[in-house]
Amino acid sequence: MSRDNNIAVDIQNVTKMYGDVTALKGVSLDIRDNEFFTLLGPSGCGKTTLLRVIAGFEEISNGAIILYGQNIANLMPNERPVNTVFQQYALFPHMNVTENVMFGLLRLGQDRANAKTRVGEVLELVQLSDFADRMPSQLSGGQQQRVALARALAPSPKVLLLDEPLSALDLKLRQAVRLELQQIQNQTGITFIFVTHDQEEALTMSDRIAVIESGQVQQVGSAREIYEAPKNKFVADFIGKTNLLDVSVTDLARGKGSCILPGGVQITCPAAEGAHAGSGHLSVRPERITITALGKGLVQGTVARHIYLGTDLHVEVNLVEGGHVTVRMQNSTQIQIPKVGQLVCLDFEPNFARLLVD
């Protein structure tokens, strides 16, 4: 991507070692101005480390961090125009809500009167105006979370870093705060870099997502791109549920590949960049597969069990050639559910399947 002025944060080849543990391996990312950007990955993949590196709490072993054209890699945390919403909030326990939110403003040299007005605005934004005089210990988890957000928003940072800010909240509250966060991001126009290991959170909130594994960026793209066009097996498997069929790839050209399915049927389908001939994996999402009458589908197997999920029903099918496939069906009366032990054929539109790099 070119380095134009709508890049907020340009992370160039950043490597971070903790002793001999490599937490980040040559991470490069362009985060656009005004974007809701999410770092998504399993536990221990380096998400927090990357945020801490941007905030300045960790020195990097190698690389550069360009914030709106300025290399900030050597600045102290208090010199960087970014603010953080900490995973455990880290509210100052001896200050009330107002003083907490005012802290950054006063450090930036604002006078008390102006700072007070700004605190009022921000507390309004996070709907905590009635709690201005409370101490953090007198607030619920969700309220504390919003104070942490208000405190980080008050100095109008160029970039806001959020480290799993919703993880301590229960499901209902999490969904409410998610919406609030998105609205606040829209209203303020601040670039958000948001860390989560919850893929649903990532898919619903983000403009773009970076999927990280073992300190390396696996793929960057919109929710749709990542879900529908995963680059590799890790991304396909980590985002949503997918079936990975062992296939042998015969032919590759212009983003398409031919492969032979278990059972011998040959299909042509989209292929990820870097896919190569030989044995490979074909990813097919459970909702793309239908169960058909014998002889009418692409692969064959016996129904192993049903998993009831309320609105949905998952049917697990053991393929005749080995391996198993999950089929997702809507739980409606119109659909005939095959019985356990029944031999069935499975069908899918090859365009919605995808050949992956290992």
Partner: protein, 306 residues
């Protein structure tokens, strides 16, 4: 002030009151025998008449307090004027104890911080090292200190041989010697509570402060110090109070000029020359002074909590 953990534990105690009574009984007995009874005796003695060879005559008298605060001339028949001798000893003691507390804090805080921020077993080792000298009796330590700092002692010889000074640096029998002695006697009482507070400190708060544009100094004064304040206050009380009543350091290091309350009281109970009621009265005045200061502090804290 936000002290929710304390509040919580208080709430918990209430729930367990039923178990509390028998469990707490031994403490009450010990406190009763070794604190309440002696203090009550002391209070009583302070209102009795002195016997010339030590001891008391069982006869009510305000003479001890009168002697402390008023001067009635050589024969006790002049009109009373304020007696400054003892008040100034008290004042000097407060000053000496205050200076010692200040230096303990100055040295103790960084020490405690250093120990608390060591990783793993290292902090235990450092704590252990800090306490080792205190396995030796206080009297012996104070006498050793006297030998170290006297005019021809190792400290002066060392400084002279390296040409830092040409004349011996006269420390012994000065205020400084007393302060050094008190500082050395009570340093661990400063280090340990601050260590405990820093150990509990959430270092994410320092990161949050830095993230919100606070310099290191501001982080220290606005975030760290308020958070570890209970430890600092506990340390200051634990150093100040015993320093105030100390008599070993002032006696051995300070000489006659640098008399402190502790020595004054000790004299009154020594040999035949003493005056028990006067010693008891001086103790009661000292005790009241300490209690007043602590009560004022507790009040101040309680107001902050609301």
């Amino acid at each position: 002030m936000a002290a929710s953990p304390q509040q919580n534990s208080r709430a918990m105690n209430n729930n367990y009151d039923g178990f509390g009574v028998p469990l707490i009984l031994p403490s009450w007995i010990i406190i009763g025998f070794f604190l309440v009874v002696p203090v009550a005796m002391m209070l009583m003695y302070s209102f009795l008449t002195k016997e010339f060879r030590g001891g008391v005559i069982w006869e009510f008298s305000l003479a001890a307090y009168d002697q402390f605060f008023f001067d009635r001339g050589l024969f006790g028949d002049s009109p009373p004027v304020i007696e400054w001798t003892y008040i100034s000893i008290f004042w000097r003691s407060i000053w000496q104890a205050g200076v010692a507390t200040f230096f303990c804090l100055l040295i103790g805080f960084p020490t405690a911080w250093f120990i608390a921020t060591r990783t793993g077993r290292n902090s235990t080792i450092w704590l252990f090292l800090i306490t080792i000298p205190y396995w030796v009796n206080l009297l012996i330590r104070t006498i050793s200190m006297k030998f170290l700092i006297r005019d021809n002692g190792p400290l002066n010889e060392f400084l002279i041989s390296f040409g830092v000074i040409s004349e011996p640096f006269h420390i012994i029998n000065t205020n400084l010697a007393v302060q050094l002695g008190l500082f050395y006697s009570y340093l661990p009482f400063m280090v340990l509570p601050i260590y405990a507070a820093v150990e509990r400190y959430n270092f994410a708060l320092s990161e949050a402060a830095a993230d919100l544009y606070a310099s290191r100094t501001v982080t220290l004064t606005k975030v760290i110090l308020p958070a570890v304040k209970p430890g600092i206050v506990a340390g200051c009380i634990l150093v100040f109070v015993p320093s105030l009543g100390a008599f070993l350091a002032p006696d051995l290091l300070g000489g006659a000029k640098n008399f402190m309350i502790g020595s004054l009281i000790e004299e009154q109970f020594k040999g035949n020359a003493g005056n028990w009621p006067f010693g008891a009265a001086a103790s009661m005045i000292l005790l009241s002074l300490v209690l007043i200061v602590l009560t004022l502090y507790a009040r101040h804290q309680a107001r902050g909590q609301r």
